[in-house]
């Protein structure tokens, strides 16, 4: 048996293992979301029971989108006297501060605060900005929204009600949708990926293991937890994933509430998307390396599963995809010949069908997403968008290696925004 055949078997086994793992998570996620959809998600409380909430919005040069975001936050159906909005204008060089000042003047009855930083204390990333915002926050519950978000009015109330009602929940996260999904074919792909991978996958993990990863926006967290863990890790490029692991270790779980929805602007150009995903991948790998030891820690509880899941994704999934792509390419070029008796073309056909069905199952739970056009997009994704993931992770690993070798400072790479048309 040749080396290429052994690698092929490994790739086949690993890909099918990961695919079946995702199928299982999709089934769990489906059941969870299906159940959630049977109610509106509210757990009514008296006015006095609603805690004070500080909504933190880190903003670095967000003049293009921040006004729309703040207006959405001001439009929450949460009691006006029970929440404050703190926008951390993090070393911006654009008009962000002026826009916020105008908004504060326009809505004097709301508690809207702008904390501006300079390049001495700010401008080093989202974690640092959140820590600055947190230092002036008064709420016992902290809510986080990115500066490009437009949450639905009920989102905050839903999140807070579910957090208060469950003392074991350290944080409650909502769902985020793509506001600019029709901007380009890329944003169409991102929209589908957001729903299928990020939401459905989260729901599946929560259903089976009571595990969720904070998505970086549209979530509430107890103030006491932030204080206990000493704020956000400024070294982490994906501070959300990092803090999720620390919440698990404190014995809390993170709850997913799909009825709490925010709409956000996703990259519609490939270079912007690529840079954002490389940053995410670097952040996730950092968290994986930091927490992998807990996979073997019997006292770590369910988070062992999450640590293992991340490790599987960035080791087995990556290596198997690289291997299968190389063998495919080698085969096409006539450089590699694999003779594995017993495997049929039908198997690959079934794998493609399962992938498409898996994603379509997720879309069936959304309004206006389940249609033939989406099915065509999903099929296209498999051979285009999905393949990019390998390049993203390889680039992230390369960057991390270079950062370590040359002792480069880890930099926050802000996602570039653009002005959306009103349509």
């Amino acid at each position: 048996m040749s080396a290429s055949e052994i690698i092929s078997i490994y790739a086949i086994a690993a890909i099918w293992f990961m695919m079946m793992l995702n199928v299982m998570l999709s089934i769990g996620g489906y059941i969870y979301i299906y159940r959630c959809n049977q109610s509106d998600g509210h757990i009514p409380m008296d006015h006095d029971e609603y805690p004070m909430v500080s909504v933190l919005v880190p903003a670095h040069n967000e003049a293009l989108v921040v006004q729309r975001t703040v207006r959405s936050l001001l439009n929450f159906d949460y009691p006006k006297d029970k929440y404050e909005i703190i926008v951390i204008n993090d070393n911006s060089s654009d008009d962000t501060e002026d826009i916020l000042s105008d908004l504060a003047a326009e809505f004097p009855e709301n508690r809207l605060m702008c904390v501006s930083t300079d390049k001495v204390v700010g401008g080093t990333g989202k974690s640092n900005a959140l820590n600055i915002g947190f230092s002036v926050a008064e709420g016992s519950v902290i809510a986080i929204y990115d500066a490009d978000n437009t949450p639905e009015p009920k989102a905050l109330r839903l999140l807070v009600e579910n957090l208060v009602a469950d003392p074991k929940a350290g944080a409650v996260i909502g769902k985020f949708r793509t506001r600019n999904r029709n901007a380009s074919i890329l944003s169409r792909f991102v929209n589908i990926e957001t729903l299928s991978h990020q939401c459905m996958n989260q729901a599946g993990r929560f259903f089976f293991f009571k595990l969720c990863t904070i998505p970086g926006t549209n979530y509430v967290i107890r103030r006491s937890i932030i204080e206990s863990v000493g704020g956000w890790d400024v070294k982490a490029l994906s501070e959300d994933t990092e803090i999720s692991f620390r919440i698990y270790r404190m014995g809390y779980y993170i709850k997913l509430l799909p009825q709490a929805v925010t709409w956000e602007q996703e990259p519609h150009l490939l270079p912007v998307w690529f840079r954002q995903r490389v940053r995410w991948a670097k952040g996730n790998i950092y968290v994986m390396m930091k927490n992998f030891k807990y996979t073997f820690d019997r006292n770590a509880g369910p988070m062992r599963m999450d640590a293992l899941y991340y490790a599987l994704t960035y080791s087995i999934m990556l290596s198997s995809l690289v291997a299968s792509d190389m063998i495919f390419l080698g085969g096409v070029l006539g450089k590699i010949q694999v003779r594995l008796g017993g495997f049929s073309t039908a198997l690959w056909g079934m794998a493609i069908l399962v992938f498409i069905a898996d994603v379509m199952l997720t879309l069936s739970l959304e309004r206006n997403e389940f249609n033939l056009e989406s099915m065509g997009l999903v099929a296209m994704m498999l051979f285009s968008y999905a393949k990019l993931w390998v390049f993203v992770v390889v680039k992230a690993m390369w960057d991390m290696l270079m950062d370590a070798l040359f002792k480069r400072e880890v930099k926050w790479d802000k996602t570039v925004r653009y002005v959306e048309s009103d349509s």
Binding site: I9, G341, L347, V354, A357, S364
Partner: protein, 494 residues
């Protein structure tokens, strides 16, 4: 410049427009007969023709009008194919009333007295005045003419399509006749019946029966075995080789079929594969006397290197002789090797038996793809044919591989890898309790059919479940938004 023995003169249009297949057929026939051939477009032929004493004049389409002045002063052997316009001084004159392209019927007898009748096309057919040589008859519009005629050095065949099996066989026989300038009978080359593409998993009982049948008929026959690279010690391989040893000791000869090449290759890897296959057969007492190869192998340096290693070559096809042949291919390098070559017989009837003896021919029978009736009919036809059979053991043989591995046979002594061997058959003990070394890992990696079936089944279950869940969620969505819509309507009403 090195020149061939025969010059084929053809019009430029023959390649570009009219009938390049005819040139391919002629090339294939002359290759089969091992002639070194050169090709010349009519435009350039005038300067070349003086260097040759054998010329084939190919004018097989309406546009193929060759300037007869090219042949001025030519006194060698001339074979005219197609329309003979302007060659009156060679004795071929036009026949009044038979101008243009016409369909006729020809009767022709091959050298084994096999009589045929076929419809053929002719163009501006001509006639010899008092030919010294005639073979076959041609009936066109009620006129009876010789099909092939000749006088002195010149032979004339009026047919214009040489792409059919009949026309190729006819042309091969007539080229042989045209070039045979002596009074004695021509040498008759042999034919071989070849059981083709035999694998170890070919039904051993059926193979044994076919072999035994030919042994009983005291026939010479050939078995072309596929190369085996792994598991040569398995009982199945040993049983297979047992049949081959029995065959080779009783009139049969075993040759090695070329590896099936599906990807790019180089000489080293190809030679390594051939060496492994040879070793596996030699180790089981099977003495390979030659190779069966595709004709394409003539034209590549890598494969030519393999052809150099086998004294006897069976060509499994003539597919390489396509229309590119005239301009691009050069087979002189191959012909210099001087191999004993065998080409596929032209199939003139269902049995496939050869009816020409102008070169050594093979009648291929694929045991796995052919019914018993057809196989036994082919065997009987070859046995009863006047074209003689010849054992490969009656010729000197040599087969070489990497690392000084070789087989030589000088019609008396068999040397394999430097050791004298004997071609006799003694039944061998085949181990019944063979250890296949099939541990869990081995079972998994060598046959993934079960895993394949399992995963397909699992995917099927997942798909059915997903379809059900999709149906359920769409119903829920429908109810939710229907309820909202009704609520909204009620609210508006109140």
């Amino acid at each position: 410049m090195e020149r061939g023995e025969i010059l084929v003169v053809y019009p430029e249009e023959a390649v570009k427009r009219s009938r390049p297949d005819n040139l391919s057929a002629i090339a294939q026939i002359l290759f089969s007969m091992s002639y070194h051939v050169d090709w010349a477009e009519a435009e350039y032929a005038a300067d070349e023709i003086k260097f040759y004493d054998k010329v084939i004049w190919c004018a097989t389409a309406e546009s193929d009008r060759l300037d007869p002045l090219i042949l001025d002063g030519f006194e060698g052997l001339l074979l005219v194919l197609g329309q003979p316009g302007g060659l009156e001084h060679f004795g071929i004159k036009p026949v009044s009333g038979l101008e243009g392209k016409l369909i006729g019927t020809c009767d022709y007898m091959f050298e084994d007295n096999y009589q045929t009748r076929n419809s053929v096309e002719v163009l501006n057919v001509g006639s010899y005045d008092g030919p010294a040589y005639i073979n076959g008859t041609l009936n066109v519009l009620g006129a009876d003419l010789p099909l092939v005629s000749g006088s002195g050095n010149v032979h004339y065949i009026p047919l214009i399509d040489y792409t059919t099996e009949f026309a190729k066989a006819l042309l091969m026989q007539e080229i042989g006749q045209w070039l045979w300038v002596w009074d004695s009978h021509m040498h008759m080359y042999s034919q071989h019946i070849v059981l083709d593409e035999i694998y170890p998993f070919t039904d051993p009982y059926r193979l044994q029966q076919i072999v035994s049948h030919m042994v009983e008929l005291k026939m010479n026959f050939v078995i072309s075995v596929m190369p085996i690279y792994d598991h040569a010690d398995y009982p199945a391989m040993q049983r297979f080789c047992e049949v081959l040893r029995y065959a080779q000791a009783n009139g049969g000869a075993v040759i090695l079929h070329a590896p099936l090449i599906q990807t790019e290759f180089d000489f080293d890897s190809l030679a390594a594969h051939v060496t492994t296959a040879m070793r596996n057969y030699f180790d089981n007492g099977v003495w390979l006397l030659g190779m069966e190869v595709p004709s394409e192998w003539i034209f590549h340096e890598e494969t030519l290197g393999i052809l150099r290693r086998s004294r006897t070559l069976f060509f499994s096809d003539a597919d390489a002789f396509d229309s590119r042949f005239v301009n691009e291919y050069d087979i002189h390098e191959y012909l210099k090797l001087g191999n004993q070559q065998v080409v596929p017989a032209y199939k003139l009837n269902e049995t496939g038996a050869s009816h020409t003896a102008r070169c050594s021919t093979a009648v291929y029978v694929n045991v796995d793809m052919t019914t018993d009736d057809v196989i036994y009919a082919a065997i009987d036809a070859v046995k009863d044919a006047p074209i003689p059979m010849q054992s490969l053991w009656s010729m000197e043989q040599g087969l070489y591989a990497d690392d000084f591995r070789y087989l030589t046979w000088d019609r008396n002594t068999l040397i394999v890898n430097g050791v004298q061997r004997f071609n006799n058959y003694e039944p061998a003990e085949i181990e019944n309790k063979f250890d296949y070394k099939r541990n869990v890992y081995y079972r998994f990696v060598t046959n993934l059919a079960n895993q394949n079936q399992f995963l397909i089944g699992l995917s099927g279950v997942v798909l059915v479940l997903f379809v059900f869940l999709v149906f359920q969620s769409r119903q829920q969505m429908h109810k939710r938004f229907l309820k909202k819509s009704i609520k909204t309507t009620d609210g508006e009403g109140s």
